[in-house]
Every structure is written in C-alpha cells, then in structure tokens.
C-alpha cells in the first residue's frame, strides 16, 4: 500500500533483524549437533506448529494497536479451559465438543478481555508488564475456581474429572482421550493429508485467489462496488488497476509457492516429509486468522488500530476513541487466544489443569519476537517464521543437551533461558531504538555547512 523510495541499507537491516538472525544462526548450529533425523524434526515440527501458530497470531492485533505483547492471552486460555471443562462435563465428544467449547469461549474470553482492556487503558505505557502480572493474578482466581468452585458450587457430574472421583476440585491432569467424551483431535483428526497434498492444495488456493483479484472488478457489471469507488473521468490512479502493477506485487508470493512445489518433486526432499501429516482443518483455522489479521487492517477499524498504535495523541485529535479501539484489540486478542488454547489442547490430548495455560504468553511472545517482530510492529509472516524457528529449537534443544553436555535437562533449561532472553533482547533493542534524544545535526538544519572545531 505504501510505496516508498527507500533504499536498502544492509547495516540497518541487520540491526532491525538482529533477534531473528541470531535465532536463525542458533537453529542452523543446533540441528547438526542434535544429530536428529530431518524426518523426525519435520514430524515434530508439523504438530507443534499446528498447535501453537494460532496462539502466536493472536498477539498481532494488540501489537499493532500499540499495546505491546499481550501476555494476558493466558487469561483467554483460562477462559477456554473453563469452557472445555464444561464440555467434558457434559460429555460432548469429538468435533462437536470442540465446537461447543469454542462457542462458549467467546463470551468467557470476551468478558475477561474486556476487564483486561479496561485495566490496561488505565496503565498506558505499561501494558506488557501489566498484562503479565494480571496473568499471574488471574491464575490465583483460576485455582480457586477449579479447586473449590467446580464440584462444590457448580456440580461436576462427570467424576472422571474430579480429584480421586470426589466432589471437590478438578484433577491435575485431564485425559482428553478417555471415555465417550474424548475430544482429542476434535479438529486435527477431521481431515489429515500428507505434506505434499497439503502443499499442492495451499498453492492452488493461493494462486487461484491471486488470479481472481487481478481481474478488474469494475468491468463486471453486477460486481460493481459502491458508488464512491466509481472511477471518474479524470482518474489519476491508472497504475493501481493495471495488470502489470498487480502482477508485480503478487509475483513474489506466487513464486515462493511454485518453487516450493517444484522443490518437493525432488525425491530426497519429499522423503524428509514422509512422516508429516497435516491437520487440514487446524491449518485452515490458522490461515483464516492470518487472513483476518490482514483484512481487518484494510477496514476502518483496522485503520484505527494502526493510528492508535502509532500515536494516541494524533488519533485522539482526529476524533478516534482511543480507549475503545484499544479495548476492541484486547478483546479480540483474548478470544483468539482462547481458541488457540483449544486447538493446542485438542492436539495434545491431555490437559494439565493447573499448568497448561501458565507460560503460553511467554512462549508465544518469544516466538513472535524471534520471527523478527518488535513490540511495536508485527506481521503474520513474522509470527509464522517465529513459530517455526522457535519450535525447531524446542524440538532439538533436549537432544543437543544430551549430545553436548551429557544431560537433556541442560537443553530444557536452555530453551527457557532462550524464551526469556529473546524477550529481554527485544525490549533492549526497542529501548535503544527509541532513545529520547536522537542526535540531530542542527547546523545542517539551520543551513550551516559544517560544524567548526572548538577552539583549543
């Protein structure tokens, strides 16, 4: 949308992508050290990406709206877990179980998001720490709810869910693959395809939509857009409609998909993916959220998100209700996080009642930063790239720990260290980039050629 005559500075690019590049190097170094087969890595990776990508994409809206990483997605996940528990109690199995839980997540997570948003509006500038602490606070309430309220005040008929089959408290681990109400794979198992087929379908869909959008809609009579969009006679914007212009903008993506399909034809490459089976419905959900993130930015609401994110003062002066816009961003993010947690749980097949939600904010935040996002700017691409890089490291780190240090635990420590480290690094870089006083050349601005040397 923005065409700028920016020239490419390698140094700037390097600095802006420092976090991502460090991680790429780390990953490249770690894969051989782990001595794992690529088939295994890809297999693990496919399930981890399908589990986590939705959660990471849920972070984008608040970042765009200038609220940083929404660590309060933890609270959305709690909402989802409440919904899932009720579904298990009512013994709704499979996809219908997940769908029920997803539907109930909307009011629950939406309400929590509203409360979070209200609070964050009162602590502008401290949203990240605010949402993180809020997550810990909410965890206390969550424990009261699950240890006492469920069973005592809200009856739980399904005694598989309570501690020792008693009346009080939900057990520590819920097996989602047990009994008639099993919801494990409620989405994943609906439709699974080998990697190759999934790739072909994805490429086909992307290319098809590219072709569609290249057709000039205004030429087709019954598809005419609103009256305002009618080009008038002295339209200046010819290039916007020309096929060549559209082709130029869409070509890179098309090339990536075609190239991917072509490379996949090489038997050795295809072999590495032989164990991967893509859960298509989950993948479609992820793609839809990605699409939503793009499309919303082209609406009036999206424009408000971006405006508020860049300058609350200016947005306010333009008559935008800043607080309301921020509230909407947080509510949406919290609901998406709830859905993301459902996807995660149905894929995993087991719910650690008191731990499953605890560190998702941290890991999702770290992942999106690894992808090259900052706490003020994030895109779908960065979220997906971050998801891939971060989880490659997660898969290989224990093995590297065994091979290099003789202890798998060191690998585990390392990945926790990396998660926090990445967030800290991103914050430091952000701080460096936004120093209050940037050196300015006043003499230049005043039109004086060069600074005279101070007299000795």
């Amino acid at each position: 949308m923005n065409k700028t005559g920016k020239s490419f500075h390698f140094g700037t690019w390097l600095r802006d992508n420092a976090v991502m590049l460090t991680f790429v190097l780390l990953t490249i170094a770690a894969i051989p050290l782990s001595a794992m087969k690529l088939t295994t890595i890809f297999f693990e990776l496919a399930s981890r990406i399908s589990r986590n990508a939705f959660l990471i994409l849920a972070l984008i809206l608040p970042i765009v709206a200038g609220m940083g990483i929404n660590f309060a997605i933890t609270i959305g996940a709690m909402g989802a877990q409440i919904a899932l528990l009720l579904t298990l109690n009512w013994q709704i199995p499979g996809f219908s179980g997940i769908a029920t839980a997803a539907a109930m997540t909307v009011p629950l997570a939406g309400f929590f998001g509203y409360l979070v948003g209200k609070l964050l509006n009162r602590m502008k500038g401290q949203e990240m720490i605010g949402s993180m602490i809020l997550g810990y606070f909410a965890n206390g309430l969550y424990q009261v709810l699950f240890l006492f309220v469920f069973g005592q005040l809200i009856p739980i008929a399904n005694r598989d869910l309570t501690i020792l089959g008693g009346k009080t408290g939900i057990s520590n681990t819920l097996d989602l693959n047990k009994g008639v109400y099993a919801v494990k794979g409620g989405l994943d198992n609906l439709w699974k395809l080998p990697f190759g087929d999934a790739l072909y379908i994805a490429s086909g869909v992307v290319l098809f939509f590219m072709l569609i959008t290249m057709i000039d809609m205004s030429r087709i009579p019954f598809l005419k857009k609103s009256k305002l969009a009618q080009p008038d006679d002295n339209a200046i914007l010819v290039e916007d409609k020309s096929i060549a212009y559209k082709l130029k903008r869409r070509l890179p993506i098309a090339i990536i998909f075609i190239a991917a399909c072509a490379v996949y034809q090489i038997p050795v490459v295809a072999q590495q993916f032989m164990m991967v089976r893509v859960p298509m419905v989950t993948a479609i959900c992820i793609a839809l959220l990605g699409l939503f993130n793009v499309v919303i930015m082209r609406t009036r609401l999206g424009q408000r998100f971006r405006a508020v994110g860049q300058s609350q003062t200016v947005a306010n002066a333009a008559g935008i209700n800043v607080n309301r816009t921020r509230l909407i961003a947080i509510i949406l993010s919290t609901i998406f996080a709830g859905w993301g947690q459902l996807i995660y749980l149905q894929s995993l097949g087991i719910m650690q009642t008191y731990a499953a939600h605890e560190s998702i904010g941290l890991y999702a935040g770290a992942a999106i930063l690894v992808g090259g996002a900052t706490i003020v700017r994030a895109t779908n691409g960065q979220a997906i790239l971050g998801c891939v890089l971060f989880h490659v490291l997660f898969v290989v780190a224990p093995k590297v720990g065994v091979n290099v240090f003789g202890d798998a635990a060191i690998g585990e420590f390392f990945r926790v260290f990396v998660s926090f480290g990445v967030i800290a690094l991103a914050l430091v870089l952000h701080g460096l980039r936004n120093r209050p006083y940037k050196p300015r050349d006043l003499r230049n601005e005043a039109g004086i050629p060069a600074a005279p040397k101070p007299a000795k």
């Binding site: 923005n2 339209a235 916007d240 424009q303 005043a446």
Partner: protein, 678 residues
Amino acid sequence: MGAECVLEFKNITKRYGTNTVLHDVSLSVKPGEIHALLGENGAGKSTLMNVLFGMPVIHESGGFSGEVFIDGNSVVVMSPHDAMAKGIGMVHQEFMLIPGFSITENIKLNREITHRNPVSAVLGDNLELMDMPAMRRDARKALDSVGMKSLDELALVKGLPVGYMQFVEIAREIDKTGIKILVFDEPTAVLTESEAKLLMEVMRSIAESGIAIIFITHRLDEVLTVADTVTVLRDGKLAATRQVQETSLIELASLMIGRTGSESVVDLPPREEALTGKIALKANDLFVEMPGEMVKGASFEVREGEIFGIGGLAGQGKVGIPNGILGTFPASGQVELFGEPLPLNDVRATLSKGVAMLSEDRRGVGLLLDQSIEDNIVFSAMQVHRRFLKGLLPRVKAAPPGKVLRSAVWALSVVLVLAGFFGLTRYQLAFNRSAAVKAYIAFQKQATAVVGEADIIIEDTASSADDVVLPSGGAAAALEEEEAEPVVSVFLSEKAADTLTPGEKILLFFANSAWAFLAAGLLLAAAMYAYQCMIKGSVTLKDTSGIRALSKQMIHDLDIRCTGSGQLVGTLSGGNQQKVCIARVLALTPKFLFVSEPTRGIDIGAKRLVLETLVRLNREQKLTIVMVSSELLELRSICDRIAIVAGGKVAGVFEPNANDADIGLAMSGITPERSGAV
C-alpha cells in the same frame, strides 16, 4: 454585526481562579478574511483559541463569560469534535500527523472512504473496507489545492521534510467538508523562507475560496504580507484591532510590547563601584538541542558583575541557552568563562568551575520534593564539591609504590578466588575422566555387588558382619564412608596417594584447599577495598551540624517560611520552594549564576522577594547573573542589559529602558537598525 461575519467573539472574559487571562475581548472575522492574532506569550491567544475549540481545560475550569457567534448564531462549542462539526479547523503547531502512515491515510484519518460488505452490514460500519483509490483521489485534490502538486500522495509522512508536513496538515483541513474557519497556529515557525512564502500564497487562495483564516503568529512581517486585519492582544486585553493597510511594523511591535508607565517590580540599589567591563562569559556560535527550545548559533558576551537578561518568546531558544552551557542538553559551539574555555556537555565539570543554575523546572530537576529543606540545600554542594561530608574511616595516604602494588594485590585476590573456584568445580570433571577414577569406580561397583550378596547371607545365616567377605585394605574403608562423602574426595583422601600421577597430585592440592583459596581471595579483596576507601575518603557521613548551621543561615537570609529546616520541601508554597532552590545554588558558592524563569508560577509578593534576593546577591557578593525570563517587565526592572532571542539566535542586546518597538521587532526576529541596540 449580524450574519456577515462568519465568526464573532463578543466580550469574552475567562478567569482561572482569581487570575483573569482574558478580559472583555471582542473580535470578528468575515468570510474570506485573513485575520492575524498577535501577542506575546501569555497574552491570551491560546486561551481564546481554546474557547473557540471548546477545549476541556476551559469547561473544567468554570467556562467563560461572553458569547461566540458562528454565522450569526450564538453557539457554545463543547468539545474539539464539536468544533470540527461546526466547521472550525486547526493547523497545529506540533504536527498532528502519524509518521508511519502515508499522506493519504493521514489526510483521511478517521474520515476514511469505505465500501459496505456483508460482514459490516451485520457487525457495524467499522468493518467496512477502505476504498483506497477514492481516498487517494481526495488526497490528491487536497494536495493540489495547497500547491503541493509534485508531492506523492502515497509517500510516508515519516520521510517528508518538516515543511511539507505543514502542508499535509493544511491539506487535511481543506479536505474536510463544510470547513468555514481555519486556525493556523504559528504555521511558519518550522518553515524555510521559500516554504513560508508558498504558505502565504496558499493561505491567500484558501481565503479566496471563502474560508476565514485566523493566523496566530509573532512574525510581524508576515502579518503585513498576508493578513487583512490584525488584532493585538496584550495581558489578556484587546490592545488594538487594525486594518493592515493602516498600520506599520513599528506600531504593531509597540502595541505588542507596550507597557503603561514604567512601574518597576523592585527598587534597584545603586552599585558601590562601577562595572569593570571585563568579560565573564563569552558564548560564540552556540547550538543547543533542547526540544522545543532549540538554540541555533547564539553569540553573546556577559560582563563581570552585571545582571544580564535574556528574553524572547517561548520556543525561540532562550531557555536553551543556560541549559546548553550548563550541559543539561547537548550543545556545541565555543564558550569561555573568565577567559578559560568551558567544556560543554559535562555538567559536573561546569559546576565545579563555579557555574551554577537555578532551573526553570523546579519540580522536574530542581528540587527533591520528599526530602527536607536542609537536604535540598546541601544536595548539590555535597555532590559537586564534596562539602558537608565527614570521613567515616580514617584517611590514609597511599603508600609510595602505590598504584602498581595495589593493582598487583587486586590481581592476586582475583587469582586466589579463581583458584578456589577451580578447585571446587573443575577438578571433579577432570577426575571423572581419569583412568584411576574409572578403575576405582569399577572396583567399587564390584564391591557393592559383593556387599549386596553378603547382606542376603547375613539375613539367612544371622552371622556377624565380620563374616562378610570384603575387598581388602583402604578400599574397604572407603566403602564404609561411601554414603557420606562424594566418590572422588573419598578416593583422594583415603586411597593411597602414591598411585596418583603428578598432574592428579596438583589437582588434589587444589581440591583439598579450595575453600582456603576462596576465603583468602575474598578477604584480601575486602581488605583492599577498605584500604582504597581510606585513601579516597569515600566512606563518609553527612556533616549534620554543619548542614543545619548553613540551613538556618539560609532560612534566615532568604526568609524561607517554614516550620524548621527539617520540613519536607514538597509541603512548602511555590515561592518558598523557589527560595530553597536559590539557597541550594548559593550553597555551591558560585562565581557565575544562571537563573531560568525564577518567578514562574509564584505570586507577586514572592516574585518581588526572589528578584530582590538576586539583586542583593549581585550587589553584595559581586555575583554575575544571567537571568532568563519570559517577563520583559522583570528583566527591565533588574537587568543591566537584555538580550532578545528569536529563532535560536540573539536578535539584539538592549538597555533596559529601550524602545518597546525595538524590543518587539527583535522578538519577531527583526534586528532593529535604529538606536537602542547596544
């Protein structure tokens, strides 16, 4: 006047508490007229515009009296959005643009052109998709009409020259439908000369299309070039309204500044001896990057023993000068103090050379509000000159070999600590891999197996433990201690030392004495630290009695009204806080004093006292003072000379009794060529 005026203010009076900031101001603007609004800071221009835009600050402080008419109808504007709806637009002084947005997006911000779609039909028009081509067309049209024909409407605002942003702002206001009145708030402050010229043309063409323009400025020449009518405000009162053809630069300047009579704030005692004329401070080509108060090449000289005033309008750079010289904001240029070059950007060095500053920002950098009066008074002196401190440890002189020896001892302590850590950790790894240890561990496993069998035997036969077959010698002893001690150290202490290699013997030594090494290293370091503190005298306590004596003296001298020197500064009144600031500066025993806006926000009685104090310091202690103030009257009453700063440069230096018109011209950046300038 009826409907021929698009905007009319009638008898507007606005009070903040007891302070009247607008007094019975009336003015009217016709469609297509460019009406300039002229006045010093605090003359009431902003308040008048706040009334026009219905800013919350007006309504929250009790509203105003008088009436505003738009198109002949009496209106009360309740909020800025309301103003927008009534057709009043504003071109802001600070740009209200979003840097990361394209020009089009900025122009159409919150007024986006959108299409309906099925989702938005259900969930509200916020989800309508933007129609970028239509928005671009509108933006293009608006840009063309402000003369920016070559500017790409899709360029990001971020990369634009500052001047262009001003035009984007104007384009945005023009693009709003139904705009009747457009307010330009000092639009030329950031423009180059040619851009300013273009702006004048654009303003003319906007006015010709029937929009009324209110042009707030302090540049008199621009008023004469572009405006039709000019209204001068002074001290919240209407000074005059003139047709531009009927007035002149000189008249406007003196209208803007003019004071009735020459009442002085304080009585000036005469000097005992005349000034020597020696130069105390010489600044040449000084640049200071103080946001909002940029100094761009100021040069001036201050004579020893004088009170030198620096005046000028807000944002022109007068406050930047003392801040730059002191080093609180990045500065460049040459500054000489009493003939010596003064290092810039180094507050500590400047302070230690005897320069002190009374900051304009009392609450921000001036005072520690939750500390006592005495602590505030001595704070800077303690930090800069290390006064009011008593040594806790006896001071010693450094021994002759000094630095080299001390460095060596430091190094030794570091080595000892490292050796300790090495002994604690590293050797174990090494031993785990050594052949001797492997053999031992293998042996031990074997022994355990035997013991295990033996245990069963014991149970079965109920015989004594002596019957158990054990491996012979030291290994047996080791076995008994096995559970209490880690494998390796048992082995090292009990197993015959003669089976070890020399390398292993060294490791053994480190292993056994690791804790001794660590302790020795840490003790040595602690002792060295204490010794260095004694040399430097850096372990100190406050000299409470000395501080109290000085505080008492200051409280008496400056007449600080308080319950005692221990009272918290935050609980004092504004005037008394300012006196504490002065006391603190005096505790530095300065040779050269900068005073920045010393009377801001304090009442008239306290003002007089502060000024009198400054004069007394000047006369009695021969202290050279540079006083920066927005209040010309104050400067005129105590200064020997007054420099007027405009556009970051010194526009002229005047005698305190200089002509109003000259000072007014200097304030708008025109250096007067007539008499009066020194």
